[in-house]
């Protein structure tokens, strides 16, 4: 039987991921300001990156760079000594995707601002209503 403390230590990373996911989703759904929504989107994406990095971590292992022996001769490498590198690779890609999405989203927000003069979604919708009826 494991105690509550052990359980928390074993899982708190996943719970942090869930909290961050919810913060991001909340900002994307409930906030009206577009920049706030974009920040929420980024938090959502980083939460997923944190999830992958948590999968990769391994107790008692070191960073995934193989230590050279003297004169460059490679000694036998044991998988248990190094942290799982695959999630790190995947997450490098995911970080790049998130910054790319950020750039496009900010460009769109800028275009919206030049069109309507505001970044608040409700004010923008009001202006659209006005222009469509009037």
């Amino acid at each position: 039987m494991e105690s509550i403390g052990d359980l928390i230590i074993a899982k708190y990373n996943y719970w942090a991921v869930i909290t961050l996911l919810l913060i991001g989703l909340y900002a994307m759904i409930a906030k009206k300001n577009l920049v706030k929504k974009i920040i929420g989107m980024n938090i959502f994406q980083t939460a997923i990156i944190l999830f992958y990095v948590s999968i990769g971590s391994k107790k008692g292992a070191t960073i995934p760079i193989i230590l050279h022996g003297p004169a460059g001769s490679s000694h036998a490498v044991h998988a248990a000594d190094y942290i799982n590198p695959l999630p790190h690779v995947l997450m490098l890609t995911a970080i790049v995707v998130s910054v790319a999405t950020l750039g496009v989203a900010l460009a769109l927000a800028m275009k919206i601002y030049s069109q309507y003069g505001t970044l608040e979604e409700d004010e923008i919708l009001e202006k659209i209503m006005e222009s469509e009826t009037g």
Binding site: L25, M28, L34, K37, M41, F44, Q45, I48, F51, Y52, I55, L86, P87, L90, T93, A94, V97, A100, T101, V104, A105, A107, L108, A109, K111, I112, Q115, I124, I128
Partner: protein, 503 residues
Amino acid sequence: MEEQFPAIIVAVPLFAALLVTLVWWFDNRFCFPIAILAGTVSLAASAGLLLRVLSTGVVEYRMGGWPPPVGIVYRVDHLNGLFLVVISAVSLLNLAGSRTIAKKEFGEKLGAFYALYLLFITGLLGILITGDAFNLYVLLEIASLTGYALIGMGRRRAPLSSLNYVFMGTIGASLYLLGVGYLYLITGTLNMADIARILPAILPSNVVLLAFILCLSGLFVKMALFPLHAWLPNAYTYAPSTVSSLVAPLTTKVMIYVMFRVTLSIFTVDFAFNSIAVRLPLLWLAIVAIVMGSLLALAQKRLKKMLAFIIVAEVGYMVGGFWLGNRAGMNGAVLHIINDAAMTLCVFMAAGAIVYKTEDDRLSSLQGMFRKMPVSMTAMVVGGLSLIGVPPTCGFFSKWYLISGGIAAGQFAFVAALIFSSLVNTVLFFRFFEIGYFEPFPPEKTRHHGHTGYLAQSKEMAEAPLDVLVPLITAAVLVILLGLFSGEIVTRVIQFAIPAVIG
């Protein structure tokens, strides 16, 4: 060279996109020929690959020469071999018709448009061909990112709709990524075939179930299944014409393909259809999508928005057909993806030609349009007949399969929804036909709408230019040809694409 086809299909459009960006800072004129050339090469390679799959079976291509669970692998079977040909043909056809309209819509940024267009195609073709769950996510992001940019260049509400699409699209893709993460956590691999090999040993497992739910809900956001469809109508309506005729036929269909792939090749038929009870809820979701999409389409006053809601209903067809879980239903769903790509291309290209000439897509402004633009309107009618499901056109045959699948599965609500949706489409296109053919020109009304322009007032023929019309006619002919050869397609290709387990 033949064994390199899978790499060529994806690498050539990517390479062409880069070349276009290099060239257009010096000369604008080379962009279009380069794009057309790249599209043709990739279509030829897809066709060659499909022939090879038909004769020898599944083709595998190892990226960087690494064997499957270690490296990334491309895997082509009957299902995606067929879609590769369809998607590259549809995008090439639209590209061919884009020249004049794009010049008008994008002006100086024409080169950037073609580069983004090619990157978009690269993403979609890559999604179709890849056999790696994470690689699929990266390609998905390429296709979406370029899609956001292309849609955001439209008029009026386009940037806002595009930003909404960014949010929804990111949620969808991230949920899919999270689902893949859960699968990786439990299996330790990202290769689809490898996951499918490992999964049966660890079932039943809550983590796998959650991964399934996450992947599917992410894909549902991306394909705009009914309660999650909110981003689609505005984005497709306000997008530039050349873009909506590219995005509308392709994105949702490719997402539905991904649903097929994820369910059949990752989670396996046994898990998805027998172990867990998601079949009926998803079928009902599809039924609701069909009914609501049709009803909402009925309420629209603008041509492109009406077509966009028809797409929402059509997504319901394919999702429903798939989750019927029998052979006829799946045949119908796969066939309908192909047919729907062709007929949506046809109607959106026709709509693009009309908007190009009149600058107005309100249904009420289409009066007398048959006399002004006979070819475009005829193409629109062919597409419309296919959406309704009238026999010589392709829409009839896939709907026939779907209905017989529904009857075989005993799901009469699905059959009723299909028939209801056909009736609604009949009403929609008859209204369209009535306005365009029978209503006379309004005597004074047009002058009040500032930019309705001289065209609305003159009664002479004013067709779109020839390089728009030829691809449009080809698309219309394609709709009919696909109908005539649908039996061939099903017996030669599609029936091998569906796992033998499904009876």
